[in-house]
């Protein structure tokens, strides 16, 4: 029973070591997850980012205990979420990437049936109120908008006041107002000590919410750390347009690199303030008007795009001829 020691406070709530998951066998084998390590501490909000097909959901499903890993180990609250499901499930809440509720049941009926399957469930009305669906209780699920369905899914995940919350793209399909409300709700949950593992397409979401994050590509974690750590060392960017026929050569600025595309110029700089000051001084001195001037610090989005394109240019290590994407669709699951 040494595997089922409960996690002590301060321990890692989620521990993933060398996780591998592949679908199919032989020629159609596809490795969706190739050796992922990650740890999430108690009360931490961890975001899993990645392009489509990076392996985020495949990783999540194993951590949620929906599937057994092909290799490696997963511990949630000190237990194997797949083989020790009964020990883990009452303490976690899961929101899948899509749906999972019969269209012909009303919102309240859906809540009632989930409450009957959840230990220590909060009142259904309260869960619906949390996500702003209280007024839709009598409506059938099939008549809800996409955003309302996501919120119903979130309400069901929160029904048992989980210690650990898994959110697979929680704000996809939400309008900006509903998204902000979901973010606020997730912040409040974290403030009360809920551990959250979420995947998202929205880098802004990770930037807003995540204590730490990992960027996945090709089934592996390419970068991990706090937002600041991931962005650190990434250059800032300045873009502008030159007027026609300036005749003046671009200045040589310390720490900056220019790329010119017709009249459009992009500068990458590791010292944004200095580069910008020098650039503006040069423009004034030569009487040049810089059109569409834009200067921005490195953002998670830029870091993400750069990391994804860098990773795409390196073949994943120990990767046998990787089947095309359509293969995945044909053989996976």
């Amino acid at each position: 029973m040494e595997t089922s020691q409960p996690a002590r406070p301060g321990d890692h709530v989620i521990e993933v070591t060398d996780l591998r998951r592949h679908y199919g066998t032989g020629a159609t084998e596809y490795q969706a997850v190739r050796g992922v390590d990650l740890t999430v501490g108690r009360g931490e909000l961890f975001a899993l980012l990645g392009t489509n097909g990076a392996g985020k959901t495949s990783t999540m499903e194993v951590i949620e205990g929906l599937a057994a890993p092909s290799g490696g180990t997963v511990r949630v609250l000190g237990h194997d979420p797949f083989t020790e499901r009964a020990a883990v499930r009452p303490r976690i809440g899961v929101m899948l990437q899509e749906g999972g509720f019969p269209g012909e049941l009303t919102v309240a009926e859906t809540g009632r049936s989930w409450a009957g399957m959840t230990s220590g469930a909060r009142p259904v009305a309260e869960a619906l109120e949390l996500v702003g669906l209280g007024h839709r209780a009598g409506v059938r699920v099939k008549q809800l908008s996409g955003g309302e369905r996501r919120r119903l899914d979130l309400a069901m995940a929160l029904l048992g006041r989980p210690e650990v919350l898994f959110l697979d793209e929680p704000s996809t399909g939400l309008d900006p107002e509903a998204r902000a409300a979901v973010w606020q709700l997730v912040r409040e949950l974290r403030a009360q000590g809920t551990t959250v593992l979420l995947t998202t397409h929205y880098l802004e979401e990770a930037e807003e919410l995540a204590d730490r994050l990992a960027i996945m590509h090709g089934g592996q974690v390419v970068t991990t750390g706090t937002v600041a750590e991931v962005i650190a060392g990434r250059p800032s960017r300045i873009t502008f347009e030159l007027p026609e026929f300036t005749g003046t050569p671009l200045p040589v600025l310390a720490g900056a690199e220019f790329t010119v595309d017709g009249r459009k110029v992009t500068a990458h700089s590791t010292a944004l303030q200095d580069t910008l000051t020098d650039l503006l001084g040069w423009a004034r001195q030569h009487g040049i008007a810089l059109g569409a001037l834009d200067a921005r610090s490195a953002s998670l989005e830029e870091a993400f795009l750069a990391i994804a394109s860098e990773a795409a240019h390196q073949a994943p290590p120990e990767a046998p001829a990787r089947p095309a994407r359509r293969r995945l669709i044909g053989s996976a699951r």
Binding site: G100, P102, S113, G116, S119, A121, R122, Q184, Q192, R333
Partner: protein, 279 residues
């Protein structure tokens, strides 16, 4: 939208979730869905009743060439079997396919319900409806047509449990080969035909040529049906009726083949059942 209620909310918390509680919660939701699905309700309630008329005329015709065939007994017995085939096997296959397609099964698996609880909970309304219809026709028909009292009710119960277990497992297995609820009518056809024509419901085995009857005795649901028949009437049609003790002897081979088929169906269901649609 979060301002009205603090996340912590009230301190009210429901009880620990139990197997019984989960089966009730799932069964109740599934019953609501069945009542709101006109097609399923029609297949479950109307179709078997219509087929009872057909069954009656077929049995009458067979009685002309097979003297001694007890048309009334076989009618009630056949009707009970047919109702269970439609309401439990067919209806449940469609229910599994429907819930899988809506990703309901996958979502349920993220909760506390165990796999078997999810499958049985989904089956609760089909079983309740099928058993009450079967009881209504079985008891009502027996009284109305003055049939004999069952020889061995215990054996009938064993046969019924075996039959329902095999049907649920076959429904789970059939759902693995069914893409949409609409195509369930086709994918369930082989088993439906085997049950109705090969298990002695429409054609009692004794009116068949001996070799064909021997083959039919080995089909998946025949043994369970035969157990019910032996328990009810004291004979499977191949010999003269016996009493309570004698019926166990008649039933023994059916018990063995029935248990083997039930185990095979469960193995197949475990091996092939899909919790989410192919992507």
């Amino acid at each position: 939208m979060t301002t009205a209620v603090p996340v912590k909310g009230s301190t009210a918390a429901g009880p620990q979730s139990t197997t019984a509680g989960r089966l009730i919660a799932l069964g109740r939701a599934e019953a609501t869905l069945l009542l709101r699905n006109r097609t399923a309700l029609f297949t479950a309630l109307v179709l078997p009743v219509v087929l009872i008329g057909t069954l009656h005329s077929m049995l009458k015709k067979q009685a002309e060439t097979t003297p001694g065939l007890d048309v009334d007994s076989m009618l009630i017995y056949g009707s009970v079997g047919m109702i269970l085939a439609f309401v439990v096997y067919y209806n449940l296959t469609a229910a599994y396919v429907g819930r899988r397609g809506e990703l309901v099964l996958k979502r349920l698996r993220t909760g506390e319900a165990r796999d078997l609880e999810i499958l049985l909970g989904t089956a609760v309304p089909s079983l309740a409806l099928g058993l009450s219809m079967a009881a209504l026709i079985g008891v009502g028909g027996s009284l109305g047509l003055h049939l004999t009292m069952p020889v061995n009710p215990l054996l009938m119960l064993v046969g019924l449990v075996l039959l329902l277990g095999t049907m649920i497992a076959l429904a789970a297995l059939s759902s693995a080969f069914t893409k949409t609820v609409e195509s369930a009518g086709i994918t369930t056809l082989p088993v439906m035909l085997v049950m109705q024509f090969g298990s002695g419901l429409f054609f009692p085995l004794e009116v068949m040529p001996t070799q064909l009857a021997d083959i039919c005795r080995l089909l998946p649901t025949t043994p369970a049906f035969q157990l019910i028949r032996v328990g009810w009437f004291g004979t499977d049609g191949s010999a003269a009726p016996t009493d309570f003790l004698g019926s166990w002897g008649t039933a023994a081979p059916h018990l063995v083949t029935g248990a083997i088929w039930c185990a095979l169906a469960v193995w197949g269901a475990v091996r092939y059942f899909r919790w989410e649609p192919r992507r």
